[in-house]
Symmetry: C2
Amino acid sequence: MAEMIRQDKTARQLRLLSDAIDSGRLGPVKRMVQTLSPAEIGNLLESMPPHKRNVLWGLVDPEDDGEVLLHVGDEVREGLIADMDQDELVAAVEDLDIDDLADLVEDLPDAVINEVVRSMDRDDRERLEQVLSYDEDTAGRLMNPDVVTVRADTTIDVVLRYLRLRGELPDHTDYLFVVSKRHQYMGRISVASLLTSDPNTPINKLIDDAQPAIDVNESSTEVARQFSDHDWVSAPVVDDGNVLLGRITIDDVVDIIREEAEHQALSAAGLDEDEDMFSPVHKAFRRRLIWLTVNLGTAFLAASVVDQFSPTIEKIVALAVLMPIVAGMGGNSGTQVLTLMVRGLALGQIGASNVWFLLRKELSVALINGLALGVFLGVIVLIWFHQPMLSLVIGCALLFNVLTSAAGGVLVPLALKRMGFDPALAGGVLLTTLTDTMGFLGFLGLATLILT
Amino acid sequence: MAEMIRQDKTARQLRLLSDAIDSGRLGPVKRMVQTLSPAEIGNLLESMPPHKRNVLWGLVDPEDDGEVLLHVGDEVREGLIADMDQDELVAAVEDLDIDDLADLVEDLPDAVINEVVRSMDRDDRERLEQVLSYDEDTAGRLMNPDVVTVRADTTIDVVLRYLRLRGELPDHTDYLFVVSKRHQYMGRISVASLLTSDPNTPINKLIDDAQPAIDVNESSTEVARQFSDHDWVSAPVVDDGNVLLGRITIDDVVDIIREEAEHQALSAAGLDEDEDMFSPVHKAFRRRLIWLTVNLGTAFLAASVVDQFSPTIEKIVALAVLMPIVAGMGGNSGTQVLTLMVRGLALGQIGASNVWFLLRKELSVALINGLALGVFLGVIVLIWFHQPMLSLVIGCALLFNVLTSAAGGVLVPLALKRMGFDPALAGGVLLTTLTDTMGFLGFLGLATLILT
C-alpha cells in the first residue's frame, strides 16, 4: 500500500510534466521544476525517455544543474553532460562542494576540469587534490573538508562569539570538532550542549571523546555501517596521525545505503544499479547479451547432461514431460537459500562460527520439504501416468535435488566470496548450473537405473 | 572489496564472541558487549544460532535491552522477548521513547504493556495512545511527540535563555519548530542560525517556511522519499488542522530505506525481510513450503504443455535435450526486464507517459538479442545434431521466447501493480510461468509443425 501511494505521487508529477512537454507548454514546466529539489528533478530525469529528458534538462535552472547531476545514475549523467557545452558545465559545477565536485570529476571533460580548477583559490585546489588522492569508495572520497573546529582550552561563550563572527555553519553541523594545536582530533562537542549549557562552561568539560574518528582509508560500506549503528548525522575523518581532515554527513551515507541494498536485487539479474532504464537500444542490448551468453553456456551444460540420457527418454517420453518440474523446484528452493546467504554475507552476519549451523539447518529444512513435495509429486505423477516406478523415481529425484540445491545455496556464495567474486552477481548463475545439471543427472540417472 | 572489508570487521567480532561463548569465558564477552551500540549488538544477535543468541542476550546490560530489541528483525525479537520474564520486559521498555515503545507494543504481552502504561504519567500515556491510533507504516507511527517549539514573536536571546533553562535537546535537533498560539506549525528555525545570528534578531526574521510539514497520515515510504530528496535530518508532523504533533528523525528513516530496498531482493525469492536466518527448522520449513508449492503449481503447468507434444518428442528426442535451453533463456532475459521494472515502479519512475517507450525499447533489445542468440544457438545445434530444420526450429523458438519474455517482463509487474499485488513478490512466479509455458509451446509447437 505504502509503495502505491508513493508511486502515485511521483507518477503524478511525471504525468503532468510529460503532458506539458508533449504539448510544448514549457512555461508551466519551468515553473514546476523550480519548486522541486535537485533530487526530485534527478528522479524525474531518470524517468524520462531521451527526447523528453533533454527538454526537461534544458529547463532546469542553471544554478541547480550541478546538484541535479549528483542525483542521477552514472549512465544518465553521462548523457546529460554530453548535452552541455563547456561554459554551461563550468558554471554548473564550479559552485559545488569539494566532495561533490570530486564525485563528478571523472565524468567531466578535461577542459572543464582545468577551467574549474583555474578559477579556484589555492586552498580549495589543494583540498580537491587531497580528496581525489583517496580511493573511490573510501571515507576520503566521501568527506567534505569544510569543518568547524574549536580548541579545548576555551569556553562556550568564546565559541558562541566565534560562531557569530563566522556567520554560517556547514549543512548538518550537529557537532563541532575539538582539535589540538596540531589539528589532531580530540573529541566532539554537540551543538545542543552549546545551546543548553551555561556560557561560562569550559569546552573541555563538554567534550564527548567516546567514539574514535573515522580513518580516511575506511571503506564506504564500513562508514555506512557505523553511521547506522550509531545514529550519526555527521562524523569526523582523520589520517594516520589522527589529524582531522574533514567530515562525512548523513546525506551521502543514505545514498550509499540505498545503492548497496539495491545492488543485491539488481546484480542477481546481471544488472548494474547505474543502468539507465531508458538507455538507447544499442547500449542496452550489448550489456544484456553478455549476461545471456553466460547463461546460454550454463544451459548448454544442462542440455548436454540430458543428451547423455537420450536413449532412456526415447523409451519413456514421460521423463521429458517431468524434467522441467525437477529442475525448476531445485532452482526455486536453492534461490531462497542463496538470497538469505547473500544478504547475510553483505551484513557480515555469516562467518566460520555459524556456517555449519546454517548448513545443517538448511539441509534439515530441505529434507522435510523434499520429502513432503516428493510424496506429493509422486502421488500426482501416479495419477497422471499410472506408473508406480516412475512416481517413485521422480519423488526421489526431487528430494535429491532439493537437498543438493540447499547445500549449493549455502556453499556457492561462501566459495565465491572466498575467491574474491561478488556472490550477489555470480551466485545465481552458478547455483542454477548446479541445480539444473544435478537435477537432470539425478532424475534421468535414477530413471535409467530403475526403469530401463 | 568494500563489502569484504565490512564483512571482515563484523565477522571478526562475531568470531571473537562466538569463541568466547563456546569456551564459557563470559566475563570478556560481557565487557566486549558493553562497548557496542544497541544496533551492533542487534546485528550480532541476528548472526547467532539460538543457543548462543540466548547466552549473549543474557549478557546485555539490562539498560540496553529495550534499544537492542528495536534493532533486530521481528522474528528474532519475538524469540528474545519469549526468553524474558515480565519484570525484565517492563524494565527494558519503560524508558524508551514513545515512538520506539509504540513499535514494540504489538510484540509485548498485555501484562507488560499494562504495567508500563500504569507507570507512565498522564501526558506520556496520552501521547502513546495518540501514536498508536495511527496506522502502521504512516508518519504518525514514526513520529516522536517530544519536540522543541518556539513562538514567532520573540528574539533569539529569549530562545537561548529558554533552551538553557530546558537543559537538554532531543536527539537530532537541527531545527526548532515555530508554532502559533494554537500550536499550529508556522515554519522552522535552524539551530545553526540561533548560533550564528545576533541575539537581538527577532525569530520571525529567521523562519524558514518554504517546506510544508508532513501530514500525520502520510505513508512511511513517502516520508522516506521526502527525507532523501531534501536531505532532512528531522521534519515536523502535523494533523489536518496543521497542528504540530511531533517530529520524525533521520535514524528511523534510514531503517525504512534499508528495509524497502531489501524488500525487492528478498521477496523475489519469496522471502520476508524479517526472516530470522537461524529460525528453528519447524518454522522455516513451513514458510518455504508454501512458496515451493506455489512454484510447483506453475511447474505442472509447464509440464502439461510438454505433455501435449509427447508424440513429437518420442520421434525426435533431441527436442527433450534442447528444451531446457529455450525455457532457461526466456527466463533469464525476462527476469532482467522484470527486475528493472520492479525497481522503477518502487521509485515511482514508471507511468502511462513512458510505459510504451519502455515496451518498445525492451522489445527492440529482445529482437536484437533473440536474433543474435537464435543464430548462435542454431549454428551450435547444427554442428551438434546435423539437422538443419531442427536448427531452424530452435533458433526461431528462442527468438519467439525472448520476445515474449521481454513483453512479459514489462507488462506482468504493471498488471500486478494495477490489481493491487506486490510486483516484487509475485512477478517472478508469474513471469516464469509465462516464459516456461510459452517457451515450450513455441519450441515444441514449431517442431511439430515443421519436423513431423
